[in-house]
């Protein structure tokens, strides 16, 4: 048997969703260690892998875990651990799809927690911001000549900066849980809240934005040129005032000139 097939057979025995005959075929390949049976050997590795992924999720989503309760979160995390893709050796990039997974659960199980998906997105973006690259100083000197070509000038946002439009008061929910304050009686939002998750120094922050700032940052994130940013009346009226502030904060961290 070639090595690739061998390794696939081993993983078929370890994966929880393996068919019984596949698992039995794997068991035949084993010489169990200690006093374990072949089935128990495979269970040790299955448990190791599950535990590592669940611990990673617990570290990234502590407020979701608090709200759901440890036992419930652990059950969900164990299911997620073997359903979601895990395509990177770096565990710090694992678990980003949990928000979508919880959103699917919401529809069936957690009707009293309609904000869960948005909360998970906030926690994921917080986690990503923590590990983002540091922001280099804005290149003001070369910017003045680049700004002469607004049709080719595109801004870049700081690494790890994320934007969220939320229907529910997840920022307030999240902050109160982290501060161990009473999370009861958080009023519903009258309108959407717009959030920017960013990291000015060593610790990420969540900042509430006005809609215009959110729209501007979103357009920059999607690659609009300086000329295109001035397309809409709302942005063109505020661009001259907002852009320097966003640059000074480090949220707009650089620019590029597109080729002619």
């Amino acid at each position: 048997m070639q090595l690739a097939d061998f390794e696939r057979r081993i993983m078929q025995g370890i994966t929880p969703v393996a068919a019984t005959q596949d698992r039995q075929a794997t068991e035949q390949m084993l010489k169990p260690g200690g006093e374990l049976t072949a089935k128990e050997c495979l269970a040790v590795y299955r448990n190791n892998i599950t535990s590592t992924r669940v611990r990673a999720l617990q570290a990234i989503y502590p407020v979701c875990e608090t709200i759901l309760g440890s036992d419930c979160f652990r059950v969900l995390a164990r299911e997620f651990a073997w359903q979601a893709a895990d395509a990177c050796a770096d565990l710090n990039v694992y678990g980003g799809q949990l928000a979508e997974y919880l959103g699917a659960q919401q529809r069936s199980n957690f009707s009293l927690l309609p904000y869960l998906k948005e909360l998970a997105r906030l926690e994921w973006n917080w986690h990503t911001a923590y590990y983002a690259a540091d922001t280099a100083p804005f290149a003001y000197q070369s910017f003045s000549s680049a700004a002469a070509h607004p049709e080719r000038l595109r801004f870049t946002l700081a690494d790890g900066l994320a934007l969220l439009e939320t229907k529910y008061p997840v920022r307030e929910i999240w902050q109160r849980h982290r501060a161990r304050e009473n999370p009861d009686s958080i009023p519903a939002l009258e309108a959407c809240e717009y959030l920017c998750i960013h990291r000015p120094d060593y610790g990420p922050q969540v900042t509430s934005l006005g809609k215009t700032t959110y729209v501007l940052l979103t357009r920059i994130q999607k690659g609009s040129t300086l000329e295109q940013l001035g397309d809409t009346a709302e942005l063109s009226e505020n661009l001259a005032e907002l852009l320097p502030v966003l640059i000074q904060r480090g949220w707009v961290s650089g620019f590029q000139l597109l080729s002619v």
Partner: protein, 292 residues
């Protein structure tokens, strides 16, 4: 606990010096304490995969540690035994980190931890076959060429062996290291765990591997599950592991040794006590050999 700003720490000349004596595996709960108190530890081993962040606190703390101490990198993501292609993204990150932090060496495990594009974050044992020797040696060769240096390959503990295997574990480790021309990181706890789980002889193991290739020794603690020993790295080093270490250091005196504790991490002073025990055993063996 002190929260001395990272940019006011003892200024730099980057810590030089060879890796000698007994070091400690540095884990997140201890980083601030180490930076604040600057304990007398000759070197630290860093879990590379915990410090891949491009910026922020994690990167700044590692840089501060590096300014004060020599370090080595211990990886878990190379998946040297996998039949998947080597992860070029991971290799690129490793090379960048190597240039930035200048570890004395880089190590990873003789196992596979990924397959068909999925990573499992566990150390899955390989079949001890000639095909696997050639395959792993080829990949180690590529990694060494890419990084521009030899790497250390560590023996892993396991809870299953395979009917396909035609070599012993020690023969397999020896063949891989000789074929790849790589160095070894010898984990004494893992040898003992496999001694218990698979009935092999730790002493025979030591005598079957090319000890001249061992550049580092790991010592850690297993969890006794009754039916088997689990390599949980969550206990102090056990008596039989200390005994096997004594046999090992007798054979390769002066080999740098590392105390490894990854889970249920105790206070830093406990790790220092473990390191002191290792130093005492190494010194006793050295004295016995000099007196002989």
């Amino acid at each position: 606990m002190s929260t001395q700003p990272l940019n006011t720490l003892r200024p730099g000349n980057r810590a030089e010096g060879r890796i000698t004596g007994t070091g400690i595996g540095l884990r997140s709960p201890h980083i601030r304490e180490v930076l604040d108190t600057q304990p007398d530890v000759p070197w630290f081993e860093i879990l590379t995969d915990n410090h891949t962040a491009a910026g922020g606190r994690t990167a700044a703390e590692l840089m501060a540690i590096r300014e004060c101490y020599p370090i080595t990198f211990h990886c878990v993501g190379l998946s040297l035994g996998s039949s998947d292609p080597l992860d070029q993204g991971y290799l690129d990150t490793l090379k960048t980190m190597h240039a930035r932090y200048e570890p004395a060496w880089i190590s990873d495990h003789l196992c596979f931890s990924s397959l068909d594009g999925t990573h499992y974050h566990d150390l899955l044992p390989l079949p001890f076959t000639e095909e696997a020797v050639e395959h792993v040696a080829r990949r180690i060769g590529f990694v060494q060429e890419f990084l521009g240096q030899r790497i250390l390959v560590e023996n892993v503990s396991s809870y299953m062996a395979y009917t396909h295997s035609v070599l012993s574990e020690a023969e397999f480790l020896a063949a891989v290291s000789e074929t790849a021309d790589c160095d070894l990181l010898l984990d004494i706890n893992n040898i003992y765990v496999n001694e218990f789980n698979h009935g092999l002889s730790g002493i025979d193991y030591l005598d079957a591997i090319p000890l001249r290739r061992v550049r580092e020794i790991h010592l850690g603690g297993f969890e006794d599950k009754g039916a088997f020993l689990l390599d949980a790295h969550n206990h102090a080093v056990s008596k039989p592991v200390w005994a096997l270490y004594r046999e090992c250091i007798k054979r390769i005196p002066g080999t740098p040794t590392l105390i490894e504790w990854d889970n249920d991490i105790p206070g830093f002073s406990i790790l220092q006590q473990e390191a002191e025990t290792a130093r005492r055993i190494a010194a006793e063996q050295s004295a016995a050999q000099n007196g002989a």
